[in-house]
């Protein structure tokens, strides 16, 4: 049976979810930036945004997270652990690219050693994704063999009905079903036409690119210098990337007490790989950009059978010098052919 979630029932849904102990988090525009934040009412949600400036990544892997407080005594060091808040939550209105990015990072945070911070949050979260009916010049999910309605990483897929009155509900997981059981009474079963999903053009040939990247000959290619010559070495692309997962540990405090934190870090920073001796394996910006591309489309898929990119296009959209993955892979496609 087709079930429809009507937009004007959203307030009631949020109330019921809250009553059932879920936090509801959704896209909002606040202080000139669009990002995911907790909501009390449906009116706070901004569901028309094609893609938020900041990703849902920060809800699983915050930009800075205290891991534990230490207190140093002569005979003992006391460490008090800080873990995620441990509340069930519903992320309402993520996009398929963001949701798939979380699934892409799961094996990385889980191989052999499980990152508690990531998995506790993953297990507590119901990802309610809205399929895209619109895209912009930078969207590239289709080029990554994903789609504006990819189910990867989502617990519920909502497909907009024509006229914007609501969404077709598609249950994808047990966790999603549980959350939607709470609001079943509010769902409508009148038939309604689904709006077609966005037509995202294919911007490069991924297979060709992967093949080119896998060829050791191309590692030293002049291509890398050319393509990254205007890269200024900031962390915008990596910090806004939903799949980029690199981090740093920092201690803040003194020799008696303080906090060890896990912070975002970026492979585009020169200091990222710098040894204490001064030797830096990736000492040039071109080698750092090469690493980013190689990691996403060669090393990572080699290990986890997925590209470390979900095609959100934020790297190109937000780059201060108009670079990005799209341009690089387009150029590789051209070079390789």
């Amino acid at each position: 049976m087709i079930q429809i979630l009507l937009r004007d029932k959203l307030d009631d849904c949020i109330t019921r979810w809250h009553a059932a102990g879920y936090d509801v988090i959704g896209p909002q525009k606040n202080n000139n930036v669009t990002r995911f934040a907790p909501v009390e009412k449906a009116s706070e949600l901004d569901l028309e945004i094609i893609l938020t400036d900041r990703t849902v990544k920060e809800l699983f892997f915050p930009q800075t997270e205290p891991m534990f407080r230490y207190r140093i005594g002569k005979q003992a060091i006391d460490t008090e652990e800080y873990l995620p808040p441990g509340r069930k939550r519903i992320i309402f209105g993520s996009r398929p690219c963001d949701a798939s990015a979380m699934a892409i990072d799961d094996p990385l945070f889980g191989w052999d050693f499980k990152d508690t911070y990531w998995f506790q949050r993953r297990n507590e979260t119901v990802m309610v994704t809205i399929a895209c009916t619109e895209s912009d010049d930078f969207c590239m999910c289709t080029s990554l063999k994903l789609a504006p309605d990819s189910p990867l990483g989502s617990d519920i897929m909502l497909r907009p009905v024509a006229g914007g009155k609501g969404w077709h509900v598609e249950l994808l997981s047990e966790r999603g079903r549980e959350a939607f059981d709470r609001i079943e009474a509010l769902l409508d079963d009148s038939a309604a036409e689904k709006e077609p999903i966005a037509n995202v053009p294919k911007r490069f040939d991924l297979d060709v690119c992967r093949e080119w990247l896998a060829d050791p000959e191309n590692f030293e290619s002049h291509f890398w210098k050319e393509i990254s010559i205007r890269c200024i070495g900031c962390g915008t692309c990596t910090f806004l990337c939903p799949t980029c997962h690199c981090f740093d540990f920092q201690d803040e405090g003194d020799t008696y007490s303080g906090i060890r934190r896990k912070n975002w870090d970026s492979c585009s920073f020169a200091l990222f790989t710098m040894h204490t001796s001064g030797h830096n394996p990736r000492s040039t910006q071109s080698s750092r950009w090469r690493q980013r591309i190689m990691h996403k489309f060669n090393y990572f898929p080699g290990k986890f059978s997925m590209n470390s990119c979900s095609g959100c296009g934020r790297c190109s959209r937000q780059c201060p010098v108009d670079m990005g993955i799209t341009e690089t892979l387009q150029e590789i496609t051209k070079t390789a052919k």
């Binding site: 988090i25 809800l59 915050p62 997270e65 205290p66 407080r69 995620p84 939550r89 803040e252």
Partner: protein
Amino acid sequence: MNEQFEPKIVAFVCTYCTYAGADLAGTSRLKYPPNVRIVRLPCTGRISPMFILKALQKGADGVLVSGCHPGDCHFTSGNFHARRRWTVFRALLNFTGIPLDRIRFSWISAAEGVKFAELISSLTDDIRKLGPFEQYKAMIHETETPVSL
């Protein structure tokens, strides 16, 4: 509050003039409040604005920055450079809303023990009236608590 609030004041002073002035205040047995913690530096030119920010962040309620009178710098021009820096830094603090009435700048020579004692007294009184500096509290609290989401 039953107990009177006793402010913590950090004084960044140059060793040649103001520190000597503070010394003179001591040897002359001049009384001034014990609220001030003196950090001695070679010259006012060495006093980075970061010192002031860090002091406020780490719990100081007021900051004093003091050195040789213009023209008396042991290194000829350190205090002239410092003066420009302070002017600009004050504007920055003011624009970002960090209260300037908690930060004081002065010239105190090695002979001005009395000026030092008086300045500390008046500064302590003023800061006491302003109360504890709590503007940073919320931000510091944020650094010490787990992420809310």
